[in-house]
Symmetry: C2
Subunit: 403 residues, 2 copies
Amino acid sequence: MEQMKPDVDVYRRRLLAVGAGGAAAGLAGWSPASFAQAAGAKPLPPFAAFKDASRLIVHSSKTLETRRDAFGTSGITDTDILFARNNLETPDASVTANPDVWEIEIDGVTNPRKLNVGDLKRMGLATVSTVLQCSGNGRGFFAHKTSGSQWKVGAAGNTLWSGVPMKALVEELGGVRGGMRYMTSTGGETIPPGLDPKSVMVERSVPWTAMEEAILAWELNGRPIPLAHGGPLRMIIPGYYGVNNVKYVKRVAFTVEETNAHIQSAGYRVRPIGEKGAPTQPSMWEMNLKSFITHPAGDSAPVRAGLVQVHGVAFSGGSPVNAVEVSIDGGKNWHAARFIGPNLGRYAWRDFVLPVRLAPGSYVITSRAIADDGEVQPELRVENHRGYGHNGWRDHAVKVAVS
Amino acid sequence: MEQMKPDVDVYRRRLLAVGAGGAAAGLAGWSPASFAQAAGAKPLPPFAAFKDASRLIVHSSKTLETRRDAFGTSGITDTDILFARNNLETPDASVTANPDVWEIEIDGVTNPRKLNVGDLKRMGLATVSTVLQCSGNGRGFFAHKTSGSQWKVGAAGNTLWSGVPMKALVEELGGVRGGMRYMTSTGGETIPPGLDPKSVMVERSVPWTAMEEAILAWELNGRPIPLAHGGPLRMIIPGYYGVNNVKYVKRVAFTVEETNAHIQSAGYRVRPIGEKGAPTQPSMWEMNLKSFITHPAGDSAPVRAGLVQVHGVAFSGGSPVNAVEVSIDGGKNWHAARFIGPNLGRYAWRDFVLPVRLAPGSYVITSRAIADDGEVQPELRVENHRGYGHNGWRDHAVKVAVS
């Protein structure tokens, strides 16, 4: 969590120590990601030990990024390569041993109630596909010194979730009480002793209307949600940035005000560089319109001349993606790409492809998504203190050498 | 492979040995599946070591079935719980180390050519969702003594595949030569020495028009196809039974006649009980209309009375599924179920749900799919020697005790 006091990252220190004893390369251009790759040492933290290290960039013990060249074109991001980013220490693995006994409190409804996952499974069932994306995805492209993980494109993935619709649950409990304006979800992590809970707890408020499409999910990509991704129970708000999809959710309350937890009041707020976070600034809720190229990935071996299938992904938390254009000359000319694979719904991402015949030379390949309402993915990032919400197509371009 | 001579299953013998030293239960009702479950010992064969043993039934070293209660409701079957069934010894794992160098021969086209996967990736790109199902799925419900794995419902899964469309590939090679009636795919397994290759090789012919939707796939569910599922390259014919989706495919030829390999000429033929397989009998090509309940799973703990979300999956290789009905009284009365989750296309399966309020008692819960063309999933199986193509809803019912 941003500005979290106890975030002394022993793991990152270990990586640094390994680096010092390894290659004598200067640390000027150092970043945890590039270093871990350079050293070929990408140890996975225990909570994510099941993942495929060869397709991930390990930033720290709490932050794993999917490599750009690992996404594939299936539409869904396999759980074994899905990014992970935890704000607090992951709860003990025992909580996922029997998901059905995990309890959650529902408040701000006519008949508040404590229920367990076993109860929820009886109350309703829905499946939704949504992009899960960290608010800071693309932070690594900002020029000013932003704190937080230096994600490039891979703090995002497309996922399938099954659970009970919040709407069905709320109806069963007599409806939302009058005057409530927010839906506030609280994570079940243990608060480190000696700290003010409000300063570190994961508690997020979203406009209460998000309830219409939200689900309390116990399944990710066809299996019980693993601990690394918030199992046994996670709040899923399709189209909203990752942080709102509260893991290990133990309470959902409809509230008059937003929570005053630091992660809501000061964290995840978009503001000018140098300013402190405050409740008056925009919160990281709905995801903006975005796309990026996944092949060629740019940083791999040179591409052989001839026909190449340029592909990538496009998504939006607002007006759905309607079309994608690709440029191979850094944005001078644009060509309509074609969608491939099934349409998984408005909050899912869509794979697109453009076959192009490339002669030897250098190319700057990028994409821009166009939404139903006519909005076009912008060229430039919106400069902001914490490097949130980057969807500028220029920074997301890949430089490709064709020989 | 059926009637395959060298199929001395050391693995099954080991299970038996373990059993003899363990519980003193009689072997009368013994089957590898029930035994493995009873003993709690379900060791995975090496080629499938990455899978989740707790959600699989291990029939033999070449046959793994997904448990009915493991499917979930996400639409896609996670690779870690997907059934596996190999006809010959799995090739050495080294073949998936660098998928791009795997070679395939394309014949029966104007310009026959040998290509590697790296070449194919440049020639076209498509993603398709299809049910992958063993021809013998449901064999365990037949009353006559059928040889082969005693699958119940779990030799099936819904999957996403990415690869090059056969159509694009064939166009690039000048089109299919005149007079060709079949598309014949050959697997790259090593033939055990001393055997007539035709007696054991995996080589399957399908009507050449299947080319229209077929892809040569290198990706399954968002990752390079693992060895267990045919990587580095697999022929995928959406809507066709598993055996036609040839693994480790090393040759695709358009041919005038069907291959005379045993697996085609005598194997996978539907015929009366007691008859030998012959080329004149129907081959296991397009999958029939089918559905089954995944929850309640029937063989687990009794269900508590009250509201229950009954759910399952429905699919067809022919006219697409249009609706599903559920019965809780063994087929006397039927209720319209509702589809959930994204529609992944006509060859994918669709999750359906019916919320029902169950009082204490015994229930026989089953489902029947209805296709666009009006066809209704039948009540009874078609009796046949090898127990192929079972889609009768009566046998697929679950018996549920509600208390």
